[in-house]
Symmetry: D2
Amino acid sequence: MTWHAAYRERVLEPDYTFASRHLKDHLIDALVAHVRTVAELPAARERGGVVDALEGALVRVRSAPTPPYAPTVPDLYYAVQHVVAESVGEEALGWLRLGLSRNDLDMTIYKLRAREVTLATIRGLLAVQAALLDQADAHVDSVMVAYTHHQPGQPTTVAHYLAAVASVVERDVERALQAFARLDTSPMGAAALAGSSHGLDRDLTARLLGFAGPVVSTYDAVAASDWQIDVANVAVSVSITMSRLVCDLVAWSSQGLLRVGDGLTQGSSIMPQKRNPVALEHARTRFSRALGAAQSIVLSSHNIPFGDLNDFGPDVQGSLQTLHNQLSGGLALVQVCLAESTFDDDALTRSLERTNTTATELADELVRIGGCPFQDAHRWVGALVARMANEDRPFALAEPADLIAVGGPTLHPDVLRDAVSPHAFVARRTGLGGPAPESVRVHLRALRDRSDEYHGAVDHITARIEHAAKSLRASRKDVTS
Amino acid sequence: MTWHAAYRERVLEPDYTFASRHLKDHLIDALVAHVRTVAELPAARERGGVVDALEGALVRVRSAPTPPYAPTVPDLYYAVQHVVAESVGEEALGWLRLGLSRNDLDMTIYKLRAREVTLATIRGLLAVQAALLDQADAHVDSVMVAYTHHQPGQPTTVAHYLAAVASVVERDVERALQAFARLDTSPMGAAALAGSSHGLDRDLTARLLGFAGPVVSTYDAVAASDWQIDVANVAVSVSITMSRLVCDLVAWSSQGLLRVGDGLTQGSSIMPQKRNPVALEHARTRFSRALGAAQSIVLSSHNIPFGDLNDFGPDVQGSLQTLHNQLSGGLALVQVCLAESTFDDDALTRSLERTNTTATELADELVRIGGCPFQDAHRWVGALVARMANEDRPFALAEPADLIAVGGPTLHPDVLRDAVSPHAFVARRTGLGGPAPESVRVHLRALRDRSDEYHGAVDHITARIEHAAKSLRASRKDVTS
Amino acid sequence: MTWHAAYRERVLEPDYTFASRHLKDHLIDALVAHVRTVAELPAARERGGVVDALEGALVRVRSAPTPPYAPTVPDLYYAVQHVVAESVGEEALGWLRLGLSRNDLDMTIYKLRAREVTLATIRGLLAVQAALLDQADAHVDSVMVAYTHHQPGQPTTVAHYLAAVASVVERDVERALQAFARLDTSPMGAAALAGSSHGLDRDLTARLLGFAGPVVSTYDAVAASDWQIDVANVAVSVSITMSRLVCDLVAWSSQGLLRVGDGLTQGSSIMPQKRNPVALEHARTRFSRALGAAQSIVLSSHNIPFGDLNDFGPDVQGSLQTLHNQLSGGLALVQVCLAESTFDDDALTRSLERTNTTATELADELVRIGGCPFQDAHRWVGALVARMANEDRPFALAEPADLIAVGGPTLHPDVLRDAVSPHAFVARRTGLGGPAPESVRVHLRALRDRSDEYHGAVDHITARIEHAAKSLRASRKDVTS
Amino acid sequence: MTWHAAYRERVLEPDYTFASRHLKDHLIDALVAHVRTVAELPAARERGGVVDALEGALVRVRSAPTPPYAPTVPDLYYAVQHVVAESVGEEALGWLRLGLSRNDLDMTIYKLRAREVTLATIRGLLAVQAALLDQADAHVDSVMVAYTHHQPGQPTTVAHYLAAVASVVERDVERALQAFARLDTSPMGAAALAGSSHGLDRDLTARLLGFAGPVVSTYDAVAASDWQIDVANVAVSVSITMSRLVCDLVAWSSQGLLRVGDGLTQGSSIMPQKRNPVALEHARTRFSRALGAAQSIVLSSHNIPFGDLNDFGPDVQGSLQTLHNQLSGGLALVQVCLAESTFDDDALTRSLERTNTTATELADELVRIGGCPFQDAHRWVGALVARMANEDRPFALAEPADLIAVGGPTLHPDVLRDAVSPHAFVARRTGLGGPAPESVRVHLRALRDRSDEYHGAVDHITARIEHAAKSLRASRKDVTS
């Protein structure tokens, strides 16, 4: 077969290079698992020696350098076949090809790779969450002004903010684990789409590859691409979560509240004063690009028939790889930016000095103490805010006379001072999930506990996969003896 | 306050109209739940009469026509406030506003709406799955040629195909239920973002609204938009699944294998012979548009700070509504197209008569019977396919002499006939998830059983929500007595 | 014909409602133009009275209320046919249907609508540009610090920034006009796709509808959807341009440099001190949603055959309408936010007082005066920036001794003061497109001049279209006499 | 400066590798052009020898191997600086850095690259168009059935279809050229964003780099990313055009009408009969991935301030490269699939034998000859279609008696035969852009003529760019002498 040069250069060779780099081990694993399943067939048992030799040949292919791309082979699987045939002969190769199609083989390899990559995403998320929780633990008492609509909103604490983001990240971990569970099934044995008439034990192959089990329907096994949409969707969710966090980190850095570590900034070739928190910008773009890669993956399955396997097979692997690179790169950058940055306590304090964001609490206090309708309280406090601003005096220094001047009731000076203090504002909000240090600590502890559980789940899965890989990569005798 | 005409016309008035149409009941529900929570505060108990009157006023607002948009109010909540104040006075209104912000109120209303819409999606998916399973049950024995790469691939059955798609749909149901679980939490009591200092019982409000519980962190409660990304992602997954199914249904209709019901086709104003399966096309576009709406939702949260609540608040509701319309419309069309279409048995039979898609099985048979390497078998059968095509004879009519002529072994005529028969091809594939009728029946039964479980889960959630709504809409006395 | 209820409710009725609201006038225009073209056929000339009566019937349909949706008609065109037949009989209707297909008719109507909408976008862009230029004219001397990487970069002027954005907007105007030119061609006469055998004068119909000319190929005329991709792409470009402008306006508003007009802000129900520049946020989201709508339009044509006309026909009109609403809404909001906002001169001045962003110029000055390599100059100035920051002294107050202390050369105090003055920094940058007032004025004048030309082009097109519409809506006698 | 390992590994090193591979020549070109512009400054003229030496050093950097990535340099520009300084000393380097920022330098390099890539896209489009026109020339008389809504619509010719697609491709060429014109402007001399105070001649630098001219505003020059959106939008338009063409090619291949060249197909490892037109599938996916890459580019500029240069600077280059790879790969595959495929005349003929798609023409003929209303004609022909189908007789064999039997008028047998003949159907459609051979030939000639003009425009631009590159890469003396 001679392929057109354009087809070789645009499709076959780059796919071969890609497979050699990212998929070879998974390919050998899948073939070994298949061979061991074939070996259980009665006919094969009679020819055990040949099948053993076949596995031996695959083991040698694994450790040998990948054969360079040759214009006569369509893909890496054919190249491996060729080496195997040369090594152990055509009959042995026949046992390898028995009941095997590139359809189920490819889809299995892609899922093995997706499993690896999704676990890396989950670990990246847990690392970001750990960095958030570490900073939160250290800043349970660091009062800051939370902005809403780009304007100062209400006092809260750095920890309250970080714990909220850590909650979103936790949900992203959950999403990723649910996506993982759906892709953790083995297509092997589905052959072209109808299975084979050889009675291969698909449960066994799945177990050998460390999958939770086989995809039941053989048609579903090779033709469904929804597990890729899951991977794309996780990336979308994570990228949006992270883009919003980065937006705030950049703004805090711009306002001088957060100092990003030196090793994560860059100067300017022309502006000597510059110290740009570039790692954050580069993280942001990675998430934008991950969103685009996710779109590539989704579009590759859009308006195509169930039986078209190239679109979400070899052709989408590059997009999955880009998605992984961008996502893991972005998570790694966010994690180090969190770990290597310091909040500037002086700057936080300065930002509180002139704040009027405690206005809500003063209104609430007037309701509680004075028993007046919230309507009136809200109106008086609005007027007080305006009065203090007009006189260029900090809201926190308002005196009882000021309140009276705007038509409000008489408050004791201590009561008023407390009501307009950002620290008191925070301290009073002790309800479920509120910013008061004791509330935040309860929340952080719960997040830590569940984080431990997620780590446990990931470790458990990893152990299962590694055990399977080790068994497949050990000599067959070691395994069965 | 007088807003600029552009702001009124472009933002306030359309949002008011939208809220009046889609969100009013949820708004009243949330306010009643808040009032009942306020009523539990010691200070409120002392003033029970006022709080009772307040709830009464809200009940009247519910049943009264929505006040028309007025240029002096920013939104429906303010309009309701105004009516309440006129009805029961400023003091009562003060109790309503106590510890309540439009931030937590809005986010609660949006989640109540999203809950409703997501349940509708799940029901739509289950209806499509039921239509798939019904057709599958009726076509377990209908052999057809499955295409791969747009070329005839292997024989299978209509039921095998439909069951595979039903499996993907089942995973979409699972995705939607997982998304539902994450959005089924109440933001109420989070106020602007820091909760309040009034000690409101956030668990109680959540329970009154039929939520699984409150969002723990008050900041998370108002600032996180990830539940919307979940809704968008479910739409993406469903749309891709459906776009692929529709692609095949359209192709089968084009080939004459599937006759879409008359009530789902249209003729042409200029081509008298036309009978277009337009409902399928219209379904396809709805899924394309749902993908675009999903992108709108994702982009609305892209690169915005955690504290910007308009983007994923009022401004994204139109996109969520479009997404819902397109998705539910598409699912309804697919469901009726499946239910109202018939497979043309004659056309299926004709398509099998000349098929050479059993070639794989003949090769397998040669391996099994002749003990030859699969390599040789594959090569002989390839040559046999070419020979029969050259002689313009159906592959199924190949005779032992033909096989010999291409260098292959001698087969008994019966063995050969069976090996190239599409029906035998299918009948032999009895392994897990294979197309043989008994395998497909096992798979269909499992899908039905799990479908029952999903129906049960949805009914259970619906009952909880409806019970809460009924309680909120009943007079308070009825509830507490 | 009785359609399935799902098909009627999900497709036919909403499409009918949409067409009645947005497309009716275009439908009648296209039909009148077609009838006048038919009237030129020899056979029709013989039956002139009938054809005249036909046009009369169409005129009456235009002015009568649209018939309500009836479950027996598939679309508005059929409803119009029905009314016409009742009014002037079947023979007259036959002349209407001669050589006419819903394919060319629909595509024509959609392009007439797209023409309208695209011109509105261009006018919206020119209005935003005018607001930018007006503010720029008023702030040619308002020095401000330009940020790069979210950190203070270099001094420039408000006008320099605004003129740069006005340049991008100018290119968006150019894009929109180029897209307009491509869609300004008439599909009429293409019939189903192969034209007709009646010899209809397609140039005439195009001219009657005010198009620049007919789409040459009849197949292209009905099957190409690229003009929609153009519309979507213009929206993408405009939305990104605007999203970046809004980002800066929001940041300036957050920093107190820009005060958005009162009529474009909102307060808080719980935070009495709030004054949120919400119109900017709502603009931002409109552009995000326009991006999603653009994606819907693109996806509707993705992986569909050339002959599928529903996807980019009736089914995509809702997306085009959403795109238009969001885009025009966003542009209107940005325009008023620019027109109704004021830059706070005091705040700008305060932001300059402590700036060290003139560091580049001091380095340049050292090169020019001292003849030292830029390397050394850059290093000394970097050290000077650090020294002044450490001593908490404004960089602009650096003295010759400070420069010497960091190893630099001796400068005359006046030279140093000038070199670190933001105003001098700006004044010296008089090169092409630089921030110096005289440079900016040259740029602004050129932008104004070209803006006048764009306005002229739009007016010219509008006049052509309005003239055609007027002729079509006048009685035929008035036109021909 | 020591950067954090995560920053080096995730950002600096991959960017360095990318720049070394794709951008080095452009970097040197831009630096040489800058140096020659600096050389025109009076101060530099005095030091001519140093500036000459500087250019010499850059020439040597160009021809030397790129220095390997070192963890102490942030990017390739710094690495080049370092080599230059070592070669010709710090003073010379100072002249290089004068008035130069990485901002204008980077943006210039990226535009030089984008120019190259966009020209390649235009050439790829023209090659596809040429292949379409070649096949069209050869199939002006090949009658085929055009499908609408996936059902047989009307007869036309292969050439009529291909010419229609060639028209869409022509508009894509126009789009790409317009995008090219907008990006063909030089940012050089804009420095960080405010230009410099050195009086560098920005027109000269632009001319030296073969740009049409400089970007006027220095702020616009470095901060605008709209030229990237243009590149992305062209890719979107081209991808959609191509996805639709591929959809039809795949369908024709599936129906046996089109035989894709052997070198562009693949067999199956398990299905011996297979001959999959895989090159078409791989083309399709490339366009889906190009759409995703376009989205990445768009999103990288979404909701970021005007002053953030990393997002659409280094960080988006990978997306632009992916977009280019996918787009050029897809175009190359489509071009060879068109050039290396043959239409199967027998299959086309067979598909016409039983067609009823001439029904429209029979109705038209009845109107013309019989003078009956189109209504009646349409109804009679619809009934005739049904009658022939019921009796399983080809529509083309209908006889006058059949027409009478369904209530229609009496036609002469010759007239009837002609009216239902696909070839006559086509031959009669001689109007502007119709399928009749003479009409299609006129259209094809016009497309060829304009294609020549487009080729001329591209050659002209290429010559200008190559001349500039040659001058920059020649020794300065050769240029100026």
